[in-house]
Symmetry: C2
Subunit: 388 residues, 2 copies
């Protein structure tokens, strides 16, 4: 109470994060490390809390999308190795070196630029990214890879600590393209003079399905959050996963409309008879997209539909009868015997589950739970413009 | 440089905000005030910078969706009146009173609850919200309105400073429902013993189209940001509006694919011949939704399509030929003679323009410009968990 002033919040169950990581840990040989993928504010769950939960459960490294995300974690006290998976500007290598953040390199020209600005006495840890068929980031030619290795070995300020690639189809039942990528990656490894210490290829889907692709570590994202990498492989996952994220609100007004009365913008929804309508304070600026019109939410353990257009900060539901103002609404998660999963929301949005928690905006406070009790809260909106 | 480390950012042109407000100001009688609607982080543009620009251009009050947003503005130094448009918990009235933030009331029972907790000697400014047909928040019955007025007058700690309603269809060519709402609101005003000082009904669409609905103030949202309230009325707006928001990135890798090579997850995109593909560091966790696959972006003043699935932090474009790594990409805005408007993105997403900048997440730094020069930058990700 008093830490956020609007009754809309997300809950993140840290026990679920930990148990997901521990369960997956049991599948892996002891010498295979877990890199917890906490980019995009830990898929919307909150970077530092998830990082710490993953580390408690056995992760030994963190991966982020870009340097700012790594710096954010360092400032919040993270001391384990951090790998930036995406591109970084060569001109920023001293920042990475100072904070002991490992960068990803995939172009020879970048190494030249980095060498020109990296201050004497600094050490920069690098992983080489190979594009084995994702067509996104990565070196594709064996010649370039060889000269990158030579160039890095040539300069004592660079430490080539790892090499990796990323799979495009590890979450599909058809394994052909996956195998092609794996073979291509192995060919690329074979052209190196020395294998780097940390070789990794597997995202969640591969970690759960392809023990042959383990190498030294797996990069665990979606499964850590308790979500299946795809609908296709969901029925055949080798471990149980528990969704950590849920989304909640409370009714701010409950009113009886007369037959014919309209609801929301465009007056597109019309009460078919006398109807009880509830208003709740969440809308598309919270990441509860307009396209979720018609989606059901839970009130008193019962599914009720969103009616009328979803507004920027609010939306309306049709209630089975009068319920008190302040009644709890669950938009994602469990209420009594009913449950709305992230997969259900993703299906309604015709997208993948990954996108759903990422979309829930920073305007929605994250409440963290352990043993069913609130242990922390993050409400960015009240942090103000403090110094960076 | 050095204030954000990934080459993806939004630009907000503060001169456009000011000129939009000034142009609309010229349409209004002198005694009609402008309330700048800066809820939802100023529709994604950034609350404090937009608030100050609007005030410079003549706005005298700010409106937000909920109390946290008002507190955020106060902490950033705003001293003009602030109105919370949405519901607030009765138990939080002392916070509002302390910060001189005006709340919205629409239920008699709320007044009782507020009276029970408001400390002696405090003063709370309130606007009554009337539901004249939006079916969202607001008092609907004349009797309840009358007893609310009486109850507020009865207690010296409450100051009834305003009354308002909101239109559902002011942005439609057909004015019937609008007129019905206006008549209903006027009826509601007529049952009051004393008219409050500040009566307001008009959003941007009504402010631009219905001088008869001005009362004491208009609540200006979307038009201030330079966007038309709807496609329907866009051709007939009485003033020119300039879009303030643009979105930018830079290519991080450029590679030649062979015919048959695949791009991104699912390997769904296949190069039809040898093709140049560029990667850029923006994805759905930035609010650049997966549904934008196929959307064009600008590089060297030319439209190029996004190919393959959009990833969490990255997406790929098909280039007309080789272009240098680091080339500027404009996703929203102008490049040379070409322009991609927010309306174009909204159409691709089958949504309204309002939703688009709201979706661009806090991971994307906002760069503020005046006279074509950068005057400020906000990169929330590097603010860390500072005390709230
Ligand atoms: C390089 C890399 N490694 C590992 C992961 C973890 O994947 P998963 O969440 O499936 O375990 C990702 C996530 N990718 C996101 C989803 C993307 O780029 O869209 C990644 O880009
Ligand atoms: C009460 C109220 N007043 C004024 C405005 C400004 O409207 P406009 O941006 O059209 O000028 C809004 C915005 N509404 C948003 C868009 C919503 O609730 O969805 C509002 O809710």
């Amino acid at each position: 109470k008093g830490l956020f002033y609007r009754d809309t919040w997300a809950e993140v169950d840290l026990d679920s994060i930990e148990s997901n990581v521990r369960r997956i840990r049991t599948l892996l040989p002891e010498k295979v490390d877990i890199i917890a993928v906490v980019k995009a504010n830990a898929y919307g769950h909150g970077d530092i809390k998830i990082a710490n939960a993953a580390i408690r459960a056995g992760a030994t490294m963190l991966a982020v999308a870009f340097l700012d995300e790594g710096l954010s974690l360092r400032r919040k006290g993270v001391s384990v190795p951090i790998l930036v998976l995406g591109a970084s500007r060569a001109e920023d290598v001293n920042v990475a070196a100072n904070e002991n953040i490992t960068l990803t390199v995939f172009q020879e020209s970048w190494i030249e630029q980095a060498a020109a600005v990296l201050l004497p006495g600094k050490e920069l840890s690098l992983h080489i990214k190979v594009d084995s068929g994702m067509g996104r980031l990565g070196v594709r030619s064996e010649e370039e890879l060889q000269s990158m290795e030579a160039r890095l070995k040539d300069d004592p300020r660079f430490r080539l600590t790892g090499m990796f690639t990323h799979f495009a189809t590890a979450d599909e039942l058809d394994g052909h393209y996956f195998q092609k990528q794996q073979a291509r990656f192995e060919k690329m490894i074979s052209v190196l003079t020395t294998k780097p210490a940390c070789i990794h290829t597997s995202n969640s889907a591969a970690a759960l399905r392809y023990p042959g692709a383990y190498f030294s570590a797996v990069r665990l994202g979606i499964a850590m959050y308790g979500l299946a990498p795809s609908f296709e492989i969901k029925p055949s996952l080798p471990v149980e996963l528990t969704e950590a994220f849920s989304l909640h609100s409370r009714l701010t007004q409950v009113k009886k409309l007369q037959k014919g009365d309209k609801v929301s913008y465009g007056a597109t929804y019309e009460a078919a008879s006398d109807e009880w309508i509830g208003t709740m304070p969440i809308g598309y600026a919270d990441g509860w997209l307009r396209r979720l019109q018609g989606q059901e939410v839970l009130i008193n353990g019962i599914r009720v539909p969103i009616v009328g257009r979803i507004c920027m900060d609010q939306c309306m539901v049709r209630l089975p009868g009068e319920v008190p103002v302040g009644s709890a609404v669950t938009l994602i998660g469990k209420q009594q015997e009913e449950r709305i999963s992230i997969d259900e929301i993703a299906a309604k949005l015709e997208t993948i589950n990954y996108e759903v928690p990422c979309l829930i905006s920073s305007r929605v406070p994250r409440v963290y739970k352990k043993d069913g009790k609130i242990v922390a809260l993050n409400n960015p909106i009240l942090k103000g413009d403090c110094p960076s």
